[in-house]
């Protein structure tokens, strides 16, 4: 396999994966869509952030984030805290329930991935992870 073939293969495989991911994520965790899951994950990781940050980070429109957050708040998974320094800003935080459900879904996803990757040597796992990070890193756009 040369470089050109490899690029074509990467393209095909990434696309194949993308096509399936959302639907199967939905089937696995009907209670938390892929988007919501991602946003909650970000909140956990950053220990709270602004809606604008989420939009920028995930290349989503601010209106999309606004509605997602509204739904998450309705479900009592996140809460908004007014920033005292800037009254336009609402800092989003996970609630206890949010943290719990995030942990649960993460665990179940982790188990699925783990199972799928069970027979991979550690060396390959580490390299694969590195490649993905590197692949995803550059822009925020385009697959």
């Amino acid at each position: 396999m040369d470089a050109t073939e490899a690029v074509e293969s990467i393209q095909r495989e990434m696309t194949a994966f993308a096509r399936r991911a959302r639907a199967s994520a939905g089937r696995m965790h009907p209670e938390l869509s892929l988007v919501s899951y991602t946003l909650l994950g970000h909140l956990e990781e950053r220990d709270g952030c602004r809606a604008t940050d989420l939009a920028a980070h995930y290349a989503l429109d601010k209106s999309t984030v606004s509605r997602q957050v509204a739904a998450l708040e309705r479900a009592a998974l996140v809460e908004r805290r007014q920033d005292p320094d800037d009254h336009r800003v609402q800092v989003l935080h996970l609630t206890e329930a949010g943290r719990a459900i995030l942990a649960q879904v993460t665990e179940s996803r982790r188990a699925a991935f783990q199972e799928r990757l069970a027979d991979w040597p550690e060396e390959d796992l580490v390299r694969f992870a590195g490649y993905l990070v590197r692949y995803n890193a550059p822009g925020t756009d385009r697959p």
Copy 2:
């Protein structure tokens, strides 16, 4: 990074990728969504097939496929041929226009991937491609 961390990282990165793929595919080729592209690709590869086969292969509802195909037919990218042996069945085929646009989008996607991966050493490309194939191979379901 140990194996567990790597698995978590793979999970996160694959998810991140999946989230963006559809949208950016749409931005790149407004004329052909990721789904349509995939379906056309399948038709090319198999040199025609039934709608039911597409549904089964991509885990889509038959109604979804029906509408997708209807749109593709409206756009004159595919045509239906009654199966003479079974009058329920319509065998789908690419039209010339369908073949052309598929080729064009494939090329433009290839270029985008190529650009993104331009500065990777060939060795890494080949290994990455191998990992993806291996990752995607097992089932047809779940990320």
